[in-house]
């Protein structure tokens, strides 16, 4: 199972564990209400910040947990794969992804959850993803130069700025709590939307 307890679980189990984890992830998304596109886009209009809260909580829980496991030597952080940090392509991709999110009402994972409970807009969104993937693949030779520019490699924020990951984690936790508080205040002031 990747870097975690590698001595007990052999690599052949990886795919099976991935399926179990995937189903669990989908279940959590659905039970958090993320199969509803109206709930998801609430974060853009300010009437529902569940997306921000759920994902921010997941991020800090997972990273604090990983850092503790790393401290006790239970997990080999060096074996964890990170995607290479391609600075400008990520900014452009983020804008495109955000536009797709606010107009379509899903992100790639939640649209599959929506399909799971039989929502038609989920199917449409999924078809759009497939078309987008196809177009991007066909256009890749044109974009390749830009895609590979400003590639910093597999680097994390604390690594790049050469700071302690632990104090960085403290900062992220504080930012998360502040974000939760601010979004709570915003939500109080905005007219409640029925959905």
């Amino acid at each position: 199972m990747g870097p975690l307890i590698p001595d007990f679980i052999s690599p052949e189990w990886n795919n099976i564990i991935a399926i179990v984890l995937g189903i669990a992830f989908g279940y959590v998304l659905e039970s958090a209400g993320f199969s509803s596109s109206r709930k998801l886009v609430g974060v853009f209009y300010g009437y529902d910040f569940a997306v921000l809260r759920v994902f921010f909580t997941a991020a800090i829980t997972a990273s604090i947990g990983l850092l503790f496991m790393d401290y006790f030597g239970w997990v080999n952080m060096a074996a964890l794969d990170g995607l290479p940090a391609r600075v400008y392509p990520i900014i452009v991709g983020g804008i495109i992804m955000g536009l797709g999110f606010v107009t379509g009402g899903f992100c790639p994972g939640t649209c599959v959850t929506a399909i799971g409970i039989g929502k038609l807009d989920g199917y449409v969104f999924f078809g759009g993803i497939m078309i987008g993937v196809f177009v991007f693949s066909e256009m890749f030779p044109l974009l390749e130069n830009f895609y590979n520019k400003s590639n910093l490699g597999d680097v994390s924020v604390p690594q790049y700025f050469n700071i302690s990951p632990y104090w960085f984690m403290v900062g992220v936790s504080v930012i998360a709590i502040v974000a939760f508080y601010v979004t709570l205040q915003i939500r109080k002031r905005i007219k409640k939307v029925e959905y």
Partner: protein
């Protein structure tokens, strides 16, 4: 309800502060980060473990016969680097060798010499030790295609000045090898070992041809060069 939110908000902050204040993170990514910084700050060349593997491997050594083949064939893909000081280099060297004294090996212009991919660089000194040390320095600095002349110039000249004569029962290759070494010796301006090494005794033992003798006479100028060479090889620097 409000209290529960505050408690939940405090949990990640407290946990991460505990994490930051925990002692001895020698096993953690922070230690790995520092190690990585050290590594990237100081070195650009081969990693220490790889260098260690290479240093116990004999692949870097070039045997004198291989070098002789290169010299005789005037193979342009080899660049001979003479690591001795300019004085010794001035006295004699191998054909085509350039002089980079070992203490100037990492100056900017000399570094540029090693940056081409077109050459295999043969490091030459009087013995093996100095050129092996320079090999280590260059390899650590990240340069590639380096060879070390095994035995150095001393063994090289020893081999071609006085090649071990094959016995009567040796295979024909040994004789071929012997002839090749004699030819290399002649090419490098060394006297014919048959005439030179045994000295008078050979002349007495084999008075077969007078032509040989006259050759020996005409070769006297080269003979005077030889002791110089032997002397040059004699003051083994390493």
């Amino acid at each position: 309800m409000k209290k529960r939110y505050i408690f939940l908000a405090l949990v990640p902050i407290v946990l991460s502060i505990i994490l930051a204040l925990l002692p001895d993170k020698s096993n953690s990514i922070d230690a790995k980060r520092i190690a990585k910084n050290l590594k990237s700050a100081k070195y650009t060349g081969v990693s220490p473990d790889k260098l260690l593997l290479e240093s116990v491997n004999d692949d870097r050594f070039m045997q004198p016969d291989e070098l002789a083949t290169v010299i005789m064939g005037q193979d342009p893909s080899y660049l001979l680097i003479d690591l001795r000081d300019a004085g010794q280099f001035g006295k004699f060297t191998l054909p085509g060798a350039i002089n980079i004294p070992s203490d100037q090996i990492l100056t900017d212009e000399n570094r540029a010499t090693f940056e081409s991919d077109a050459y295999k660089y043969v490091l030459i000194s009087n013995g093996t030790v100095l050129s092996d040390q320079v090999w280590m320095i260059l390899r650590r600095a990240g340069y590639d295609n380096l060879k070390v002349l095994n035995g150095g110039l001393n063994q090289f000249y020893q081999l071609y000045l006085n090649p071990p004569k094959p016995g009567e029962l040796d295979p024909s290759e040994a004789f071929e090898n012997y002839r090749f070494r004699k030819a290399v010796g002649a090419h490098l301006g060394l006297p014919n070992p048959d005439e030179f090494i045994p000295g008078g005794s050979a002349a007495v033992a084999s008075p077969t041809t007078t032509i040989n003798k006259t050759q020996a006479v005409t070769k006297t100028p080269t003979k005077t060069v030889v002791p110089k060479k032997a002397a040059g090889g004699g003051d083994e620097g390493c």
